[in-house]
């Protein structure tokens, strides 16, 4: 019973069943999806050893599903994140309306993602790609009326992406006559150089849309903001990785070895780096926590793209490691924002503050999240960042590493703002009665949080499957040990030592400071503070959250002024207006139409030599 069709069937059937159950026996709804995803997780885990490829054909297309080490890496990520997100959503979404719709689309997009990673031919890949697109679209517009225009933007960009992919598929098909990945990878070199370049560019564009690569990212912040938190976790954590999945395949299975490969690498690496830099800048000035995280997501994906594009074993390891880590920490962060939203009803960072004492576990998750994002040891983000920098420096991308480092440092700004505005700062009256989120939300968050520590200390746990995936991608090898990382110049970092020393000092200092003069300390409220001699009254709002980084904004000057979003809107409007003029050919006058007909006939007669090669 362990095979890919069973897996897909299970997920899609669970989606449908959940939809039906919602309208008949609502109790079963959550149980169905959670049981399904659990079984699916087991199946995914067992897949590599169990199955040979599944072959059948639809029409004239041969369909082939199979497991590779590369797809397994993503498959596991999807399964794990979905599992946690679904458990979380069983509490988060409780009592919301249209849950049948929600769970159905949720499951469909999970199933579609499995389909994408296990597809061994382009037709089924595209098929699932589209299902993923529309199911995620459905969830983007799920929440409210305002989400509609957001959804439309998402859909337009997805359509552009999907059609780029489709065009590439079609070019490949017309060139090679086969859409089996194995055949394509083997024979790609035989196509003409223009076709190859077109395919690579189109595919990267297509996959780039989903991974929010600039300048194709404009849909992401709003779409992430509008989708319900458990789904946002998947959206950013797993779904965006499908773009990475595709870009990886394109780069190493198609582009590698072609004459233009170095240029593609260089350009893509810079796109990734600039994506990281600018999205970080944008993230700094957001007021909505989810939008902030969305921009952060875009930035992190930028690192990953850069890592893939560099194409050295170490950089690919870094990229794939960051892929997994990003999946984990971004889900954590979105889930914790979701928990705040669940209790306070807002994700606006200017509206809530001082939640740390009300929601300590959520804070803890967010804290681990931001430390991981920042790449500060000892949590998991560090290993990825370290490998990325080392690989960039050692492959002579000096300025790239500066840009990346710049982005990464600037990331501290928004990360601090994120956690400060929501959890720290003044406790306010409005949030007085806020309680910690329910257990079913806390537990998934905490498990993910702890996992970042585990992967921070033992990155080898992840590097094992990653090196398998790299083997599939092109025989890339990079030495690693369970908790020791090496760079190409012979340096190494021993994460065990690092973590032991950090942990040791931390714990000793903690004990010292706690034991010293220990007694029952009186907790003072956040109003009871040193304010240069003035005693604040209870009504004064002392929160410093609005325009938190005004000085930084001033320092950046007009860098952020030009907006791609506006450009797109403008272009869109311009196009639509021109369409508007075009349709005036339909004047409404029957006689005019008749003249068109006669005119057309005359043209055909008069220019028949030109058109048909025969003069009349």
């Amino acid at each position: 019973m362990i095979s890919i069709p069973v897996l897909l069937l299970l997920i899609f059937a669970a989606g449908l069943l959940a939809f039906i159950a919602h309208h008949t026996i609502p109790v079963l709804r959550d149980a169905i999806v959670i049981i399904a995803i659990t079984i699916a997780g087991y199946i995914v885990w067992q897949l590599p050893g169990q199955t040979s490829n599944v072959n059948f054909s639809i029409g004239m297309f041969a369909i082939n599903w199979g497991v590779t080490e590369y797809s397994q890496l993503f498959g596991l990520l999807i399964a794990v994140l979905s599992f946690f997100a679904l458990i979380y959503s069983s509490a988060f979404m409780a009592n919301k309306e249209r849950l049948g719709y929600f769970y159905m689309n949720f499951m469909f997009s999970i199933g579609a993602m499995f389909g994408i990673v296990y597809s061994q031919d382009l037709i089924s890949l595209f098929f699932f790609w589209e299902i993923m697109t529309w199911s995620s679209f459905m969830l983007t517009i799920y929440c409210c009326e305002e989400a509609q225009s957001v959804g439309l933007k998402y859909f337009i960009f997805s359509a552009i992406g999907a059609y780029s992919i489709l065009t590439a598929i079609v070019i490949i098909y017309s060139g090679l006559g086969s859409l089996q990945l194995a055949n394509i990878f083997a024979n790609f070199g035989t196509m003409s150089i223009a076709a190859k370049l077109a395919v690579v560019i189109l595919l990267i564009t297509g996959f780039g849309v989903k991974s929010a690569m600039m300048p194709l990212h404009v849909w992401a912040p709003d779409a992430y903001k509008m989708s319900p938190a458990p789904y946002t976790a998947i959206f950013s954590g797993a779904l965006s990785k499908m773009g990475i999945f595709g870009i990886g395949l394109v780069l190493f299975k198609l582009a590698a070895g072609q004459g233009f490969y170095p240029y593609v690498q260089e350009i893509l690496a810079w796109i990734g780096a600039l994506t990281a830099l600018f999205s970080t800048f944008y993230a700094i000035f957001q007021t909505d926590a989810k939008k902030l995280l969305a921009y952060s997501s875009i930035g992190q994906l930028g690192y990953i793209i850069t890592g893939l594009a560099i194409g050295t074993p170490l950089s690919i390891t870094a990229a794939l490691f960051l892929t997994i880590m990003h999946g984990i920490f971004k889900s954590m962060l979105f889930l914790s924002v979701g928990a705040v939203y669940y209790r306070t009803g807002t994700t606006n960072m200017n509206e809530v503050s001082g939640l740390i004492r009300k929601m300590p576990y959520t804070f803890f998750t967010a804290l681990f999240g931001i430390i991981t994002v920042a790449g500060i040891p000892p949590l998991g983000g560090f290993a990825g960042k370290w490998m990325l920098y080392e690989s960039l420096i050692q492959s002579n991308h000096y300025f790239l590493v500066i840009v990346i480092f710049f982005a990464s440092t600037a990331a501290f700004l928004y990360l601090y703002r994120f956690i400060f505005s929501m959890f720290l700062g003044q406790e306010e009256k409005e949030t007085e009665n806020v309680k910690e989120a329910p257990l079913r939300m806390i537990v998934p968050m905490l498990i993910l949080a702890v996992s970042t520590l585990v992967f921070g200390v033992f990155p080898g746990l992840l590097l094992k499957p990653i090196s398998g995936a790299m083997g599939y991608l092109g025989n890339f090898q990079h030495a690693w040990e369970t908790s020791v990382l090496f760079n190409n110049w012979g340096s190494e970092i021993d994460l065990n030592t690092i973590v032991t020393s950090i942990g040791g000092v931390f714990i000793i200092a903690w004990i010292l400071i706690t034991v010293k003069g220990y007694r029952k300390n009186r907790y003072v409220t956040t109003k009871d503070i040193h304010t240069s001699g003035e005693v604040p009254t209870g009504n004064e709002n002392l929160t410093y959250a609005i325009d938190f980084y005004k000085p930084f904004e001033r320092a950046l000057g007009s860098v952020l002024k030009p907006s791609v979003d506006k450009l797109y809107n403008y272009t869109g409007k311009l196009l639509e207006d021109s369409f508007e003029h075009l349709r005036y050919v339909y004047t409404g006058n029957g006689q005019t139409y008749a003249m068109y007909v006669m005119g057309f006939l005359l043209i055909l007669f008069l220019f028949s030599e030109l058109i048909f090669g025969v003069a009349l």
């Binding site: 349709r583 005036y584 339909y586 004047t587 409404g588 006058n589 029957g590 006689q591 008749a594 003249m595």
Partner: protein, 113 residues
Amino acid sequence: MIYYITAILLILIGMYAVLTKKNIIKIVIGLSIVDSGVNLLLISIGYIKNGTAPIFSVKGLTPDKMVDPVPQALVLTAIVIGLGVTAVALSLVIRLYDHHKTLNIDKIRKLKW
């Protein structure tokens, strides 16, 4: 030859009416004229000067003296159809006049773009 020229002239006259006259009744008339022209053209194909009906039992009638009967059959059908179309057209004209109180085709263009 004269038949061909006449027929083509009829078609052109009809087209001219359809394309330039603003009154929809005139347009319908134009359509009828085109129809007639086409029918005339059609029947001219089978026509043979001094020919007669292709009745094989008539003695001494050679095929080169026979008028091709097929175009005639076709024309009969075409005339009937043309009549039908004209009838529908005229009923529509009545309807249009009822609603718009005008027969000027330039004024009857509520549906556009």
